[in-house]
Amino acid sequence: MEEKFLGIVAEALEKDLKSISIKDNFRDYEEWDSLAVLSIMALIEENYGSTISREHLNNCQTLEDLFNLVSKDRR
């Protein structure tokens, strides 16, 4: 499940899957900008059927935080 999530993040950020890990602080990524945020949200909605509010996103630091949020909210 974690692997699938990392695949989604890599796709959204157009990064090599090998270059990201679940413990990464995603705001440190060079590719992290407002458009990357929308891409991730779109892919999360497509794959997990859930939407992440800005408030919840602000409380996430690592990809693991984001993954936990998405898995918890899964419909």
Binding site: D33, S34, L35, V37, L38, S39, M41, A42, E45, E46, T51, I52, S53, R54, L57
Partner: protein, 350 residues
Amino acid sequence: MAFLTFKNVQITGISACVPRNIEKNSELTSLIPPEDIDKTINNIGIKEKRVADDSTCASDLCFSAASQLLGDMKIDKNSIDVLIFMSQAPDFYVPATAPILQNRLGLPNSTACFDMNLGCSGYLYGLSLSFSLAMHENIKRVLFLDGETFTKVVSKKDRVNAPLYGDAGTATLIEKSHSADSYFSLFTDGSGKDALFIKAGGARYPSSESTLEETLREDGNIRSDHQLFMDGIDVFNFTIRVVPKNILEILEYSKQILEDVDYVIFHQANKFMTDFFAKKLKIPAHKVPYCLDRFGNTSSASIPLTIVSELREKIEGKTTVILSGFGAGLSWGSALLNIGGCHISKLLEY
């Protein structure tokens, strides 16, 4: 209420007018780093937009569109019983702009004229009201004018909003006809009022020296309280939550399938967003017309502008379209109707 059916009423004419002045997003290098400009343009899908000059209002663009439409279709002005002006850029607070347009267009005193105010869902709301009125025995024709000039309320120092908005004015004629039934849905979520927001200048926060000051905001952009704020994430969240579902709802309500729909015309907000909807709903690309790249986001005028700029040569005897508007309020709506046989004027420049 949400879902409405209208019988024997149709759009019989649409026209649109845009300012002559073009502003290209590739020239925004003082605002967006040159290395990021191409990526930004690619993602939002907007290369350039039309910008009204200081002396041009939304009502002027609508006046031109309306004059052309009435002339093209040789409409007797005395047959127009209602004039609606939809805009978030009225000429004045008092009086409403619709009476001013009645006078300029030479419509009779017996024309009922009033303004409506909604954001990007405005065309759906105004159109549904026009249909409703046109069904009335004593109402022969409704002239629905929808125009916006958001470029005037966006800060030129706002990296988020400056590339997005363009100006346009449109005119739509609605009257009785032996047409297929038309279907509408209209929704609201006022808890999202802060997502698309111009704070000052109304009764809640009157204008003052401090509201006019351009200051650096939390999102890193510079603007005054009289300039548009948009929370991109909240707006995107809202649209992905409601828009695809709303398209499915209008199909179900009208007992139609996507295969029978010729075009789905989305409010032209952002290509990334509408591509997402089309992909999610499996709508083939040839059914989703865009004019976003040349005109930007023209708010409530974007749907009629898209019809004029993209479908003028493509309307046949029966052309079934879905219209989808969503935006400030938060407010959203959709329609499924036949625009077959509708007159579409050539796009005007002001």
